[in-house]
Symmetry: C2
Subunit: 183 residues, 2 copies
DNA sequence: GACCCCTGCGTCAATCCGCCACAGGCGGCT
DNA sequence: AGCCGCCTGTGGCGGATTGACGCAGGGGTC
C-alpha cells in the first residue's frame, strides 16, 4: 500500500488541512505550494499514484502539470480542483488527461470519491434544473471561498452590497464553515 | 469536401433548423430524432466526420452513442449538446471520447467552433467570477429555453413566483428578444 | 499614531417579492 | 356548443429585502 499522492495547492491553510486528512486515509502526501515545487517532487519521487492539482496556483496553471505527470507516471490518477470552475475548463482538463474535475468547496468524501471513481460510467441523471435560490447560494459560497471568506471583496465581485451579503449569509448558518456534503 | 455529419436531437424545430444551417456550411447532414435512428445511420453510412449529440434524447442518453461511433469512425469529431449541462456531465462525456461539450442555447458559431477547435490547448483564463446578477440572468434564460418559453413552468422549476419572473423578464429587453439566432 | 481595509450592527426609505385577484387566449374533452 | 385546464398579461397591497448611510472596533502597515 502506502499510496503516494502529490498535492498542489497554493492556499496554505487548505494545503495543510487537506494534506493531513489525506494522510489519515493512508496516503503519503507530497505537499506543493507552487508549480516549481511540484516539478521538483515530480522528478525526485519514485512513485506517484494520485495527484490533486489546484488549477490556479498563483500565476501558473495547474493543468500544465498534467502532461509531465502522466508521462512519468502513466497510471497516476489526477484530480483537478478549482475555485471557480467552468464547463470548458473541465473539458480542457479532461482532454489533457485529468481523471476528474471538482470545484471548491469540496468535502473530503467528494475528493476521495472523485479520485477513485471512474467518472465515465456515471449514470448521470443530468437535467435537473436547480432552483434559483440553490444556484445563488452555491455561487455565493464559491466566490466567498475564492476570496478566503472576505465578505467585502466577495460582495464586490458579486455585484451586490456588502450589507446584503452579510444578511444573506446570516440566514444560512449551515454548510458554510464546515466543508460538509452538499447537493 | 462534403463532410458528413450526424445530428442527434429530439427537438423537432431545432433539429431541422440546425440541420439546415449546417448544410449551408457544406456539411452533408444525417438528422436523427432518436437513438434508434442514429444507430441505423451509423451502420448504413460510409463515412462520418463529425457528430452533434443531444445528451437527452427522450429516455436515452446520447452519450451512449459515443463509443460505437468512435469505434466505427475513430476520426469522427463529437460534440455533445445539452439543455442543462453540468461539470460532472462534461467530464463524463469527454472521458468517453467527446471532443467538446456545449450547453444550449448555443449559436451556430459556437457550435462550429466547438466542433473544430481543439479544446485542450485553450488559453483558458478560468477564474473570472461572474456577478450574481449575470449568473442569475443566464440561468433564467437557460431554464426558460428549456421550457420553450413557458413562463409559468420556468418559474415553477426556478422556485420563484410567476409574477416575479415576469417582472424580471420585463426589466431586460436586452439580449433576450432576438429569436433570430436559434430555434 | 495615522491610515486603510476589514467586520458587525442599526436605521430608514425605496424597491422587490409573494400572493390575491381579474380578463382573455388556446386547445382538448364530453 | 359548453367546460376545463393551463397559459399570459395586468393591477394592487402588505411584508420582506435591498441599498445607502453611519458608527464602533479589529488588525494590519508605514
Amino acid at each position: 500500500m502506502n499510496q503516494q499522492l502529490l498535492l498542489l495547492e497554493d492556499d496554505d491553510a487548505l494545503r495543510l488541512h487537506l494534506g493531513n486528512r489525506l494522510m489519515k486515509h493512508g496516503y503519503r502526501v507530497h505537499r506543493c505550494a507552487s508549480m516549481l515545487q511540484a516539478a521538483e517532487v515530480l522528478t525526485s519521487v519514485q512513485q506517484l499514484d494520485a495527484a490533486i492539482l489546484d488549477q490556479n496556483v498563483a500565476e501558473d496553471n495547474g493543468l500544465d502539470l498534467i502532461e509531465p505527470l502522466l508521462q512519468r507516471f502513466p497510471a497516476c490518477r489526477i484530480l483537478v480542483l478549482t475555485g471557480y470552475g467552468s464547463i470548458p475548463a473541465a473539458v480542457a482538463a479532461t482532454r489533457r488527461g485529468a481523471h476528474n474535475y471538482l470545484t471548491k468547496p469540496a468535502s473530503l468524501t467528494d475528493i476521495l470519491q472523485a479520485l477513485l471513481e471512474d467518472p465515465s460510467n456515471m449514470p448521470d441523471l443530468p437535467d435537473a434544473p436547480p432552483s434559483l435560490e440553490r444556484l445563488e447560494w452555491e455561487h455565493i459560497q464559491r466566490v466567498l471561498e475564492d476570496h478566503q471568506g472576505n465578505v467585502s471583496a466577495a460582495a464586490r465581485t458579486l455585484g451586490i452590497h456588502r450589507r446584503t451579503l452579510q444578511r444573506r449569509l446570516k440566514k444560512r448558518p449551515s454548510a458554510s464553515e464546515y466543508h460538509r456534503d452538499r447537493r
